[in-house]
Each structure stands twice: as C-alpha cells, then as structure tokens.
Assembly symmetry: C2
Homo-oligomer: 347 residues x 2
C-alpha cells in the first residue's frame, strides 16, 4: 500500500515543506530531485498520499501540506537526522562550561542553548525533590550576642539554615540540649513526614511548653516552609515570531499566555516524562493552545531519579532531525556536567 516510492515522495514533500513553509507542488518535487518521474506522476502519487491521510490540501489549487499523520510517519520511519555541527558543539561547550557551578544556571543556560540552536521555544523543567530526604540532625551555631543559627542537615548533605534571635536570658547552651532531644526524636524521619503536629508534640511533651519550645517550633517550621519546588526555565519565546504559521497574532498570544503559567507547563511536560525521548505532533497534544505545535521532549535522569525535563516547542513544521540531534547531544553532555557537579559538591 505504502510502497517505497510513495514513502520517498512523502519524505521529500515533508522536508520541502519544513524548509519552505509553503504548500509543496508536484512540479517542485519532480524538478528538484532526480526521481525520474514527471510532475504528473508525482501528482498522482500525491493524490494517493492525500487519500491515505498523510497529506492535506489547503485548497484545490494549492500544493500539499503534511498532515499530523504524515509527520508521525516521517518522525517514526523516514526522518533523516541532521547532525549537530562543530560550531554548535563549541557553542554548547563554551556556554555550559562556565555555568557548571550551579544547577540553576546549568538549566537556565540549557534552555538558552536549546532555543538558540533549535530556533524555537525551549522549556526546561527541573525537579528538586527534597521531600524524600531524611532528617539527620539539627545543630546550633553561634552568630553574635543575641542571635544563633539553626542548621538542619539531611542524609543527602543538604543543610538548610535559619537565624534565631536568642530570647532574653537564653544562651546557646540551652539550645544545644534541645537539639539533642529533637535529634533523637526525628533522626531518620523523611522531611515530608515532619508535620506541624509532630513538631508540636515533641515541643509540648518534652519541653513542657517552656518559652524555648515556641522559638524552636517557629524556626523549624520556617525551615520546612523553605522547601524547594520545581522550577521552569523558558528560552527563545521570541523565536515563535519568525515562524510564518504564527503570523496570526491570536495563536501567538494563546501560546505565550499558556507559557506564563508554570503549573500548566509542568502538566504538559509531565505527560511524556516517563519515556526517554518523546515527540508529540500537533493534535496528538492534549492541551489546547499548542495543538498546532509539536514538542520534542527528553527526560534527564541521575541515578534513576528524574532530575529534569527539557523540551523544544515549535510549529509542527519543525526540523525534527536537527532538534533530536541537539537534544541527544545535550542529554549526554548534561549527564557529564551534572554528575561532575555532584562530584564537586562531594569533594
């Protein structure tokens, strides 16, 4: 049914359309490529491909445009990967090399690179799950005559801290005793299991409601509240203006409004987070507003845990081959960088 010739023609049409954004006519295919076929033959094949649902016609006297089904076939079977260039590799390395110190910066820069090279919108979502860490101990450190610092250490080595005003008459030593008791009670508890009530219990029961307990309670809860959340980085939103399919201002507005809602972005990215690399084409996407967009998405893991997801969002007419190559490279490169950050932090 879909013989080699049809596949080849479909591929050429899609690639032509991807690079020109204009409906592709039979003449163009027959002249641009040495297929040994006249435009009339191509025309017949195109008509067949349309019947099969791989192509669409904006109107009777226009050329053909790939349908979502066509893109899907292309992405799954026909796509010719476009290699990442030396210049791009150099760009990535130079941009990321000096950012390698802080995770936030790495992701922010990744978003920038991704949008720059793909010439589309890039989305990077990080996942910093603190909730699974275990409480190890708290410790009080001196600051000055009237203030001390409370440090919370987890089994992961993450230490949060908060400054506490010493109540009149209290000294650092008083708090050290309290720390011992708290540590005995909470050591090994997952952070997300330390609820207000539990803290309250410990404070009330053990300290018999002394004035110190209130201070400690406030301090510890404010630590809890500083729990880190996911972050979303966007890049290249202005790129969308260069795409002819978005010359309609309404569509751009819809997309940008959507991108402003962090929560929505997280939902969108969550869909494909399980598989390694996921390509969503046009109406395959469940979210309104990006149904004439495609998204290429890769999830990044470290030690089996999801650390981040990055994605390229653009028109269905996207340079899939290129985007996939870039994502692949970035994936590998980030693997190296992120584990080295872990090393730095560990060494």
């Amino acid at each position: 049914m879909l013989n080699d010739r049809k596949r080849r023609i479909l591929q050429l049409i899609i690639e032509e359309y991807i690079s020109t954004a204009e409906p592709v006519g039979s003449r163009i295919i027959s002249r641009k490529h040495e297929l040994g076929l006249s435009s009339a033959t191509i025309r017949n094949e195109m008509s067949d491909l349309e019947d099969m649902g791989y192509l669409e016609q904006p109107h009777t006297s226009a050329g053909r445009v790939p349908s979502a089904l066509g893109y899907r076939l292309y992405v799954d079977y026909l796509l010719s990967p476009e290699k990442i260039t030396e210049r791009e590799i150099a760009l990535i390395q130079s941009w990321l090399r000096f950012k390698a110190q802080k995770l936030d910066e790495v992701f922010r820069t990744t978003a920038k690179i991704l949008s720059r090279i793909s010439k589309n919108i890039s989305i990077v979502r990080t996942r910093e799950e603190k909730s699974c860490q275990l409480f190890k101990y708290i410790r009080f450190l001196p600051l000055d005559a009237c203030r001390i610092i409370l440090v919370l250490v987890t089994d992961d080595g993450v230490a949060e801290n908060v400054v506490i005003n010493l109540p009149d008459g209290a000294a650092l030593e008083d708090f050290e005793h309290i720390a011992q008791i708290i540590n005995k009670n909470l050591s090994g508890t997952p952070l997300n299991a330390i609820k207000r009530e539990k803290l309250d219990d410990i404070c009330r029961n053990i300290f018999d409601n002394t004035f110190l307990s209130k201070y400690l309670f406030d301090a510890l809860s404010s630590l809890q509240l500083q729990k880190k959340t996911d972050k979303v980085f966007l890049g290249g939103t202005a790129n969308i203006f260069n795409q002819p399919e978005f010359k309609d201002i309404g569509k751009i507005k819809e997309i940008l409004a959507m991108l402003e809602e962090d929560g929505l972005i997280k939902d969108i990215l969550s869909v494909g987070e399980e598989s390694g690399m996921q390509i969503t084409i046009g109406s395959e996407n469940k979210f309104s507003g990006i149904q004439n967009c495609s998204m290429v998405q890769a999830t990044y893991r470290l030690n089996g845990q999801i650390v981040g997801t990055f994605a390229v969002l653009g028109p269905t007419r996207m340079k899939y081959g290129k985007v996939i190559s870039v994502m692949d490279y970035l994936h590998k490169y980030l693997q190296a960088i992120l584990s080295s950050i872990n090393d730095i932090n560990d060494s």
Copy 2:
C-alpha cells in the same frame, strides 16, 4: 499661554484616547463633556495644542493623538489618580499573604499581581547583595563516614554550605584545625574581598600544601561561586497582545526579545532606580525597542538599601493614574511584608 481651558481639553483628549485607543475628534469632546463649547471651538483649541506640541495628528482628516510631550504634561500636572478598588486590594492581600514565607515567591507574586491589575507587562527586579557581608567563620559538621559539611557563616547570619568528601585517612578532626586557622585569617573580611589568590595564599602558606589544603580550597571556592545574583521576574507579557498599538507583530517581537535578556532589563531598570517613582514616556526612554512604550517604575528600599525595583511596561497610552495607585499600594504593602519576613527570619 496654556490656560485652564486648554489644559482641561488636553486632559479630556488624553483620557479619551487612553480609554479608546482611537484618535480623538473635536466632536467627541464637545458632545461627551459639558464644556459649553461647540466642536468648532474645541477644534481651534486642538489646533493650538497641536502647535504647542502636546497633540499630534496621524493624518489631516483624523482626530488628535497625544504626543510624548502631552503625556508628560498630563502625568506631571493633569493626571487624576484612579483609586485602587476594594476587589483589587483583596486580590493583592490574598495572593501575597500565603507567599510571605519566601522572598522569591513574594517578588514573583508581585509581578503577577502587577501585570494582572495593570493589564500590562510587569517587571520585578530583586537585589540581593551578598558581597557586602563579612566573613565570620567556617565550621565543619559531620555527615557520614566519608563526607562532612562545610558551613560558612557571615555577620548577617547567612550560612552557605557544601558537602565535602573526606579524603582517605582524613577525619573530621583534621579539618577542625584547619577551620581555626582559616577563621583567624579571614574573620571580618568582606566576602567579595576573598579572592582566589587570597585563599590560595592561606592554603599554601599555612598548610604547606598538604593534600587537605586542596580539598578545602576547592570547597571554599565553590561556595564563593554560589554567590547569589540579582533576579528578574516578568509577568503578563501576553497582555501586550491586547493593546491595539501592538497589533503589528514586529513591535511585539522586538519587545519580547528584549525582555528575554535579563541583562538588558537590569540596565533599563537601573536608569530610574534612584528616585522613588519614575515615569518614562515613549521616546524619553533611551532603549530602542521600547521607545513607543511607557514605563512606571518604583524602587523599593529597606533600611535605605535598594531591595528591589518593580515596573509596569506598556503602551504610552497607559492608565497612568491606575498604575500609580497600584504601585503605591503595593509599595506600602510590600514594606510591611518584607519587614515581617525579616522579623520571622530573626526570631
């Protein structure tokens, strides 16, 4: 020269134009308001106002449009403040109340509120100057058999930390000795004065290049590198699409591309940071790309130090009265919130 009647007419024209975005004709002014003047008289006055440079005419048979000079006069002398509504106050309070725990969230939410109420783009820039803090001491905390935590405490009570892998044969105690020496050498030094060379010196001279010095050096420098930078929060960028003056896609693109560059935003906001509230109208702005925009900007200080700047960016046809009221309210409200955050962190 500019008598009361002219001022009144100018005010009416500007307010009409702000609310309709259409060039204002003499008939509209004479009919909408009880000035006791015919359109012909208004026409003469409008002609005068144009000669004076306060109005402009898109073409001979169109109504008048305010010039930058006209807006300037309006903002400085004619503007009638539009009070913030109860609903808006409730919105602000409900949104900010639950965000009051973390500074980042406060600013992010402020940006959201500001764009929501002003129906324009909002920009919030924070300034977290860590460089002026003084080194107080470092301390090592146990983590597990092969890792320890290095904590850096400043006079401000901010404690940064990093996990260090114990080299073979080394124990926590070895490091405590090192900490003492470092603390003696650096105590009281401003953080930004602690350069690589200085650390290097201390390490080389004192530890005589033992293998421990390298570890410490790496760890300390990685702390230094985690220096916090300014942050920029944007809100409501999609609002710009609702403004008829930006139906031209090119202008929007220019503005959004600009907003993507954090550095550029910081430059733009820096201009008016000294004065309390600053309004920049159209071509008064030095940055290309926003020269047909206006910006209302307020700087927020705590104890005399600049903590943040927030701004509303929109078309010159902006509801200045409204925006100023909202900014005023937010300014006061944030004052309360931010000092309370300081209190929480201190108690």
